[in-house]
Symmetry: C2
Subunit: 215 residues, 2 copies
């Protein structure tokens, strides 16, 4: 089942479904209709049914979905039982916040190492995460078998750091720098460009009737 290819748009929605189902279960809710689900995750119910259809018969007509069944199902799909260790490179303002940010709540990702050039924080532990010198980057990534990196370094060094970590075998980068990184074809980059998000928002409210086709 894990080798089955599903559309990317569907894949992107899976963590959203998963998170919401967790919230439902926490609230002791054991059954959800596709309409309720639709309203909560802001995805129309036809799309939800289509998404779920890739995984076979998940709901029952007139009953809706069993929350726990769905959750167990998505947990398997999303490898939620497998803990992924990620490294954070660049512990400035944003990096600090990301260390504090509770990725681990409702997800199976944990920042297990952070790297910086600042001597005053190297060899300290921040929010439970050890900070290493970037000089130890290659060795630590290899030793800890980390293949996912959260990148929050200054733009000027972003590409050089990327080249370095790709060589060590990193396969996924969550890129918080405004730079568009050049990477080999087998490395995945997910861009989170906060200034860009804000500018796009403002552009859209100035030029479009919002919501007629939201991303």
């Amino acid at each position: 089942m894990t080798s089955k290819k599903i559309p990317r748009a569907t894949a992107k929605r899976l963590p959203i479904y998963y998170r919401y189902l967790n919230i439902l279960l926490d609230a002791n809710k054991h059954r959800v209709s596709s309409t309720e689900l639709s309203q909560a995750v802001q995805v129309d119910s036809a799309t939800i049914r289509r998404d779920f259809s890739y995984f076979g018969e998940l709901g029952k007509r007139g009953y809706g979905y069993d929350v726990e069944d769905l959750l167990n199902f998505f947990k398997e799909i999303l490898n939620q039982d497998k803990l992924t260790n990620a490294a954070l490179i660049g512990v400035g303002n944003l990096g600090h916040a990301l260390l504090n940010f509770n990725f681990h709540k409702n997800s199976n990702v944990r920042i297990s190492a952070a790297f910086d050039v600042n001597d005053s924080i190297i060899n300290t532990v921040q929010s439970g995460v050890p900070i290493y010198s970037v000089d130890d980057l290659d060795q630590q990534l290899r030793d800890q078998q980390i293949d996912v990196v959260i990148l929050s370094v200054p733009s000027e060094t972003a590409q050089a750091v990327t080249d370095q970590i790709v060589k060590v075998g990193v396969r996924g980068i969550l890129n918080f720098t405004p730079l568009r990184l050049g990477v080999p074809k087998d490395v995945r980059v997910q861009n989170v460009d906060l200034t860009n998000e804000l500018q796009t928002l403002i552009y859209f409210i100035d030029h479009y009737n919002a919501n007629d086709e939201q991303a």
Copy 2:
């Protein structure tokens, strides 16, 4: 020209072009080919030419683009001369980082007010931004004519705060909570769900050959 409708995908790329052109000009570069531009922003050159074509003849065959001309042009499109004041609601870990985060560099957005429930920071100034009590939210948003909000409150209060600020006239929300917000049709929400980004990244590197069709 500002009323001309361009495709949303194009609109989303405009800030990226704008930012890169600024970097070029800072580096004293006055001319750029579509190939160079393509490599830097990681958008294929056919797409760039198509994007630019919505705005008329911007480049010259065999010369490329004049950086300053392009920059002035995009500045106008993106209303870069008009400063937009935004409010930040929720000054926790992530909120603090967003206050420190330099949105203003290479953008015309400024956080001019922040709101929280925490008495120990209310009426203080953090990173140059005054922190108000959420009790003053309605009045401050009205007085300062703020229609863009950065939302980094706990999930549990996100919808209630949204309902409140929409009533006061907020038209755009940069949503850092994992909650999908319900808003009227004329309000635009841009979601930045960090846990989701990281989970999607991991899902993709586990299930796809990265990069064969990146978002």
